[in-house]
Symmetry: C2
Subunit: 194 residues, 2 copies
């Protein structure tokens, strides 16, 4: 980690005033915080994905969304959000870009004129197939440093965490299974528009 980057190495004694905070940090530095580590790994996956799939201008989220469409044609945007685990407004953004690229098409549902049903175009299906090996390679490279047992345990832990916490956030899966009203955005505090 190399404590002394470019900044003067000896410059650390300026933190006198911090006092107890300093030792607080030593108890639980960044590299012990799961949230920090997960953010880093998340970014690494993005970088690997772009390196493997990059020239197609497709992002991991877009690929994931199209994966869902491939097995769920004519789905509406909220159902996509639920399955993908992202916010519904974000789904609309992603779909707009995919539609602009000609990879999906949206049309009004005749049954429910509020809903817009989405499906892959032929180009979308081809894109998905063509880059499937690339996507898989990106996934594999990310975990290449772990042996099979570690890898399984790691994926297991991720799934466990998601299932144990999926009541949080707008993108939870709760609104299809449990019909209680205390589900969406209940625990979120507002960000105070400032």
């Amino acid at each position: 980690m190399a404590k002394t980057d470019r900044v003067e190495p000896s410059r650390r004694d300026a933190g006198e005033e911090q006092g107890s905070l300093r030792q607080l940090m030593e108890e639980l530095p960044l590299w012990k915080r799961p949230g920090y580590l997960i953010r880093r790994v998340h970014q690494l996956h993005y970088a690997l994905f772009f390196e493997e799939v990059g020239e197609s201008d497709i992002t991991p989220v877009q690929y994931g969304l199209m994966t869902i469409l491939s097995t769920n044609p004519d789905i509406d945007q909220i159902a996509i959000a639920t399955k993908l685990g992202i916010d519904r407004t974000n789904v609309a953004d992603v779909l707009r870009r995919l539609e602009r690229a000609g990879l999906v098409e949206r049309r009004q549902s005749e049954v429910d004129r509020r809903a817009k049903l989405v499906r892959l175009t032929q180009a979308g299906r081809e894109m998905l197939s063509r880059h499937y090996p690339d996507m898989t390679r990106a996934q594999a490279r990310l975990l290449a440093c772990l042996d099979a047992k570690q890898r399984d345990a790691f994926l297991d832990a991720l799934v466990t965490i998601i299932e144990a916490n999926n009541q949080f956030g707008r993108s939870s899966l709760t609104n299809e299974a449990g019909g209680t009203e205390t589900k969406i955005s209940k625990g979120r505090k507002k960000r105070s528009t400032e």
Copy 2:
């Protein structure tokens, strides 16, 4: 096609046209893709962080940046980017918000007039201390579903992955250790501005 919109779970047989793609997806569906799972966990951590620390309008990245400042006062922005593992342009964005909130202050370095040295204000230090328990609680809650052994293995795997892949992305740590010229944004493909 277009029968049921809203898409019931049992509605999977509509994917006739996809053919081989469909079975491709069954081999490696979303829930087997580490990148997808990590994104979900990343978002869950954000949600938990906001639930615990939320009323302060502080984000995980901002808290992490201030944590670094607490042990590295008078650091420049590129050094922050290296330590935090984010892009340097993003550091500038985050700092701008923190400065606006009065939590950090920037001043020109006298030694190197290109550099702007950053440090916490008193308000920043207080904020960091005050919400330390909240932040810790958010971290703990995320992994509360794992037992101690799983937790250690999980954190271990995260660190392993980061260290094994840290040559990717603008936010890598490589440019301090290895002095070769092939380091930054070498493997990235451009996104083709469309």
